[in-house]
């Protein structure tokens, strides 16, 4: 069995499972955020009194935290009350849910994680089966500790070669989204292999898995290795069992990509799969640069930006918004002097969380404005006005573009 099947078989209490089977699975962790949680809680109250296991329910206030409206403040209060009433100790308000889930030791090899956020697939970087669900499913899973799922077909993606200078996991995943298409992996599980993945940091693997859903994938997974175990050691909340795919595992499809010579890439508005090398669109004037999100708001991302911006000033027309993805990231970046370099270059720092990614908090775009962003979606109206344009790129490309005021290949600055 491949990795997705092997994890799911265990959670269904079966010897094996086949793609297409619809089964009920035991859930290890359920997660909600402040935009999906309130609806889930209201639904939960209609079907149950107590959550099945308060230690396995994670609540994260991240999309609009601290609150920027009375409505969201009311929702945060409602979530805090629910946590108190249910004895849920894992309520966090210190960063993007996907980053927090990993840092707090909930993303562990072999687990089944259901999150009411589409980017829950990010956790697959740790060799678990993690997928996004809506609020009703979350309510049901919270009540029962179980949920039905269809076993997905898996695609083995082998990434060969070595990434060149200032080419990052974000460029890899943008390239793959461009090749596979916005619905090219619908319902499937993506299993990543190859030396490029092996060489990647845990954070880079999170970037890779994060955008699996931008191809329609149900989940994305990296088989766990020594790096995975090093990260989870000392963090793990639960005992876990490392699950790896069988040597003779079967896949619906196998794709191999040689990434030797891959260039910095950008996804052009308004589609995640309209992907081109930065070189082909460079020179496009920008108004805002956003560095952050569950895709690319980690210390290593901020560090790359700081390397480019150190001792320099961002372009006077550009506002650059930096949002570390969590308090841990914030502290680490502060300790390493990264924040100081970014601030001196003219960046604005936001509180840890989702930042400008989804147009309901800070960094909202005006009609006609152009933003280069390290986040994962460039849909019409995503970050504010439907007449604004969003280009998705690596943290280095975001920093280089902030510096020049135009979309810029980071190898040129």
């Amino acid at each position: 069995m491949n990795l997705a099947e092997k994890i799911l078989a265990g959670k269904a209490g079966r010897e094996r499972v086949e793609p297409g089977e619809i089964l009920e699975f035991e859930v290890d962790v359920v997660m909600m955020n402040d935009l999906t949680g309130p609806l889930a809680i209201e639904s939960f109250r209609e079907i149950a009194e107590k959550v099945w296991d308060p230690s396995r329910v994670v609540m994260v206030l991240d999309h609009q935290m601290p609150a920027n409206s009375i409505e969201i403040a009311r929702d945060h209060a409602m979530m805090r009350n629910f946590a108190r009433e249910q004895g849920i100790e894992n309520l966090f308000a210190e960063g993007v849910c996907h980053q927090v889930l990993a840092e707090k030791g909930f993303a562990l090899p072999g687990l089944l994680i259901l999150g009411a956020d589409s980017h829950t697939c990010t956790q697959g970087a740790f060799g678990c089966f993690a997928t996004g669900i809506g609020s009703s499913d979350l309510a049901a899973a919270m009540a029962e500790g179980k949920l039905w799922l269809r076993v997905p077909e898996s695609v083995k993606i082998v990434l060969r070669g070595r990434l060149g200078r200032r080419v990052y996991p974000k460029d890899v995943i943008l390239y793959l989204v461009g090749e596979i298409g916005a619905d090219g992996a619908t319902y499937r599980a993506l299993e990543f292999h190859g030396e490029v993945v092996r060489e990647m940091s845990v954070g880079g693997r999170m970037t890779l898995c994060n955008m699996g859903v931008e191809m329609g994938a149900k989940t994305a997974l990296v088989p766990p290795d020594a790096k995975t175990l090093r990260y989870v050691r000392g963090r793990a909340r639960f005992p876990f069992r490392v699950v790896r795919p069988d040597q003779e595992a079967e896949y619906a499809e196998e794709r191999e990509y040689s990434l030797e010579g891959l260039e910095p890439m950008v996804a052009c508005p308004p589609r995640v799969d309209r992907v081109r090398p930065v070189r082909e669109v460079e020179g496009k004037e920008i108004d805002q640069a956003f560095l952050g999100s569950c895709t690319n708001g980690r210390t290593e991302d901020l560090l790359e930006a700081a390397r480019i911006l150190k001792g320099r000033k961002i372009h006077p027309r550009v506002r650059m918004l930096v949002v570390p993805s969590s308090r841990e990231t914030y502290l680490e970046a502060a300790r390493l002097g990264i924040l100081e370099k970014l601030l001196k270059a003219g960046a604005i720092l936001g509180p840890p969380g989702c930042g400008a990614c989804m147009g309901s908090y800070i960094g909202v775009l005006a009609p006609g404005e152009v933003c280069v962003s390290s986040s994962n979606r460039n849909f019409r109206g995503r970050m504010g006005s439907p007449e604004a344009e969003i280009y998705l790129a690596s943290p280095a490309t975001v920093a280089a573009s902030a510096l020049t005021g135009r979309l810029t290949d980071p190898r040129d600055v």
């Binding site: 619809i22 935009l35 999906t36 309130p38 609806l39 209201e42 639904s43 209609e46 079907i47 999309h63 609009q64 409206s69 409505e71 969201i72 929702d75 999150g115 009411a116 956020d117 589409s118 829950t120 996004g132 669900i133 809506g134 609020s135 009703s136 499913d137 309510a139 049901a140 009540a143 916005a182 619905d183 619908t186 319902y187 859903v213 329609g216 149900k218 589609r271 989804m358 147009g359 309901s360 979606r377 849909f379 019409r380 109206g381 995503r382 439907p386």
Partner: protein, 163 residues
């Protein structure tokens, strides 16, 4: 019989209901803003029971269940598309909004034509043109969730039966 609205490929959940409205949960309130960025006059012109006919990957993007809730609140009776993003598909069923996967549907309808559909049999008919298309029939257990009005009412009824 229902009237159709024809949309293209990759209609995202940001198109269906922009992020700034997610703090709302009342379906009618959400319904006032449905497709606001895509078709600004949709909510004033949509009639109860109207059907959305769309291309590939309808509902791509976020897991916000406010998306099917907004469509329902606006009075949309069903969405028939070439394909759906999986989270939206599941959320729609869970909110009691009928969804049908039907290859060829986007090129078989024009704005305002009349449609009939059968979820269990997997049939979509363009009444205006007199043509019939095959859709993927919904399995029985999804039909029972739809019939109950969504996952939560379905589970409530199941719990009542157990007591």
């Amino acid at each position: 019989m229902a009237r159709v609205w024809v949309l293209g490929d990759n209609v995202s959940t940001d198109d269906i209901i922009p992020g700034r409205y997610l703090v709302k949960r009342d379906p009618e309130e959400l319904g006032k803003h449905v497709f606001e960025n895509l078709l600004p006059d949709f909510s004033s012109r949509v009639r109860k029971g109207d059907v959305i006919v769309a291309g590939r990957n309808f509902g791509c993007g976020s897991s916000r269940e406010q998306a099917p809730l907004a469509l329902k609140g606006a009075g949309v009776g069903a969405v028939i598309a070439e394909s759906f993003a999986r989270i939206f598909f599941r959320n729609a069923i869970n909110q009691g909004l009928p969804v049908l996967i039907c290859k060829g549907v986007s090129s078989s309808f024009s704005q305002g034509e009349e449609v009939e559909y059968d979820l269990g049999k997997g049939v979509v008919i363009n009444v205006s043109r007199g043509i019939e298309l095959r859709a993927e029939p919904l399995p029985d257990f999804l039909l029972s969730i739809l019939r109950a009005g969504g996952l939560i009412p379905y589970l409530k009824a199941k719990r009542r039966d157990r007591l």
